[in-house]
Point group: C2
Chain length 356, copies 2
């Protein structure tokens, strides 16, 4: 039985992408070679990486002064690479702390310069997005985490910033249109809306680079990857290929506005159920609720195990919440069909009837 | 038509591995989920990474004091990570320079401490493995590159070393038994004998770590990856899965002794053809010839294009040599069948008859 996959990441991918990817593991475009066996310098892969970049530019309507990179190492490597490439030891960066991933980014950046936490929602276990702060103009950059997978919060409005903005969009990139004029460096691990684990998208305004004094190992200097179109060394070929397929799928769906509308429908369906159902309670503040990761708990914690078992029986997997929040988390990324969200909402409704 | 894939890397993988990998992209072990969609913290992937580690230990007969890691970032990231983790600024490391990859490793290590090139074969375009040097006992480590993909040379005997040995085995790991007592840190990009591009195997004697004073970004400290069994962050799930399948295949073939014998046969077949064929000449010194990458040139350079076309027509792909050597390179990794090597040898023989 095909499952309803609510995993937080690695996460659900479109069926058509999986089918094409599986076929290419046997034979890529009739080449007689598997996608796993082709040279990263050959014509087949060159076409793939160029198309992945072109699709990214098209979907995001990206100006030419931004570079597009498909790197390895995950967003966790970007936590230090962003600071290493942008922040001088005498410089200062401002971070908004909206959860575990922000906190990790802050910790890594501190190795490279002064870091000030400008705002934080730690006081209420990251259940909201901080607001009402001013971004000082003396910083090298401001760092945000657009969506917080663990806590189920998401920026729906961006702070005004007089300084460049670096944003970790790992868990909501390509889920809605982005106002590019607000961002100078965006990074995103692929394994939510973009592809499988193993590659990380980095979008960076080129003029930001080359301003720090420190000597960087070649693999950690964005400029080397830009110069070689993400092929400075052997890139993660297959993960990038699947990203290209997923980007094609995004276009076929009608692009980011269409996906935003669908994601809104899915999120509203689930949050409505949470709000009317007496057995469940949402975790995040209403205004800051994530459209990607819906976090909720049972009003009676005794019922948590039973509900998880009920989900399992209905083919809904990955619904267990992260240990720092508890309860439940339904991740409903781009590839998650409305139908699967409806199944989960119905399971919740039936559960209430049964246990009320 | 299925090709004879002589690519240098990413390279040929066993057909049975490709078939299992393709099936799992649709459904992993009947779970109802694709290998691209499962959580890296879930039972499915935990079993995979544990089995990949256990197979590595079994095949290499690895003592417990070595850790086994599947990281991302390629061997190119290990060029700096090894030095960053092992070499203090006051320390000195010795490197043997046997080609492009060694040279890159040397360049990156210089960012972290004193680096002395103990021996080099640069004087004759890296066509041999330097010998007859003494390894001083005042070094933190000695760095070797066991097989030189571009130049077609390979260590067949190891230098005696009074200090720990770090070895880049990217292009010949698992091709022959390794005397583990000679090595303290081994790294290898997967994309030759081990799997697809996207993960890098690191085998390290744990007591070597934690001796440097510098502060490391979390993702660059081997100890964090050891503590979390290669799941400190989301690892490259699919590449690691394919490595696990390839490691299973290696066991099925009879392990490293059986593969060594088969690799010897394949290399001898091709080198014999090169030596008897008046139209071709080997590039590497006979004693140092690689069993993985067979480099050769046409005695008359005018014939190079014609020969490459002939190869193409016979379904032999990836035979063009690297630009720093020219001519031809046939990479004949573990998964390359003897039959395909025979096809190439016959193409060479027929070419000689035709053009003699």
């Amino acid at each position: 039985m095909k499952k309803h996959n609510f995993n937080a990441g690695p996460a659900i991918l479109p069926d058509s992408v999986l089918e094409k990817a599986a076929a290419s593991v046997i034979d890529l475009n009739g080449s007689g070679l598997s996608i796993l066996e082709v040279s990263h310098r050959g014509a087949d892969f060159t076409a793939i990486i160029e198309r992945a970049e072109a699709l990214t530019r098209q979907i995001l309507d990206l100006p030419d002064d931004y570079a597009v990179l498909f790197l390895s190492g995950g967003a966790s490597s970007q936590f230090f690479m962003t600071a290493m490439n942008l922040l001088d030891e005498s410089g200062k960066a401002y971070y908004v702390d909206t959860g575990s991933w922000s906190s990790k980014a802050i910790k890594e950046a501190r190795l490279f310069g002064q870091v000030e936490v400008l705002a934080s929602s730690k006081d209420r276990n990251y259940s909201y997005i901080p607001k009402g702060y001013e971004v000082p103009s003396d910083g090298t950059y401001l760092h945000l985490t657009s969506n917080n997978t663990i806590f189920g919060t998401q920026f729906h409005e961006w702070p005004e910033s007089p300084i460049p903005v670096v944003c970790d969009m790992s868990s909501d990139i390509f889920s809605r249109p982005i106002d590019l004029s607000r961002f100078d460096l965006i990074y995103a691990g692929a394994q939510k809306n973009l592809g499988p684990a193993g590659t990380t998208l980095v979008i960076v305004r080129k003029e930001l680079l080359g301003r720090v004094n420190r000597q960087l190992p070649s693999m950690l200097d964005y400029r080397n990857h830009i110069d070689q179109n993400s092929c400075y060394n052997t890139p993660p070929v297959f993960p990038i290929y699947v990203c290209m397929l997923t980007l094609e799928w995004i276009l076929e769906q009608g692009g980011l506005s269409a996906l935003e509308e669908r994601n809104r429908q899915k999120a509203e369906l689930l949050y409505r159920q949470i709000d009317v159902n007496p057995l469940f309670r949402g975790v995040a503040e209403t205004a800051d609720r994530s459209w990607m990761n819906v976090t909720f708990v049972a009003t009676d914690p005794e019922r948590e195990k039973t509900f998880l078992k009920t989900c399992q029986e209905a083919g809904c997997v990955g619904v267990k919440g992260h240990r720092s929040v508890g309860g439940f988390r339904a991740s409903i990324y781009n590839a998650m069909p409305l139908e699967s969200v409806r199944v989960l909402a119905e399971v919740m409704e039936a559960f209430a009837h049964q246990h009320a």
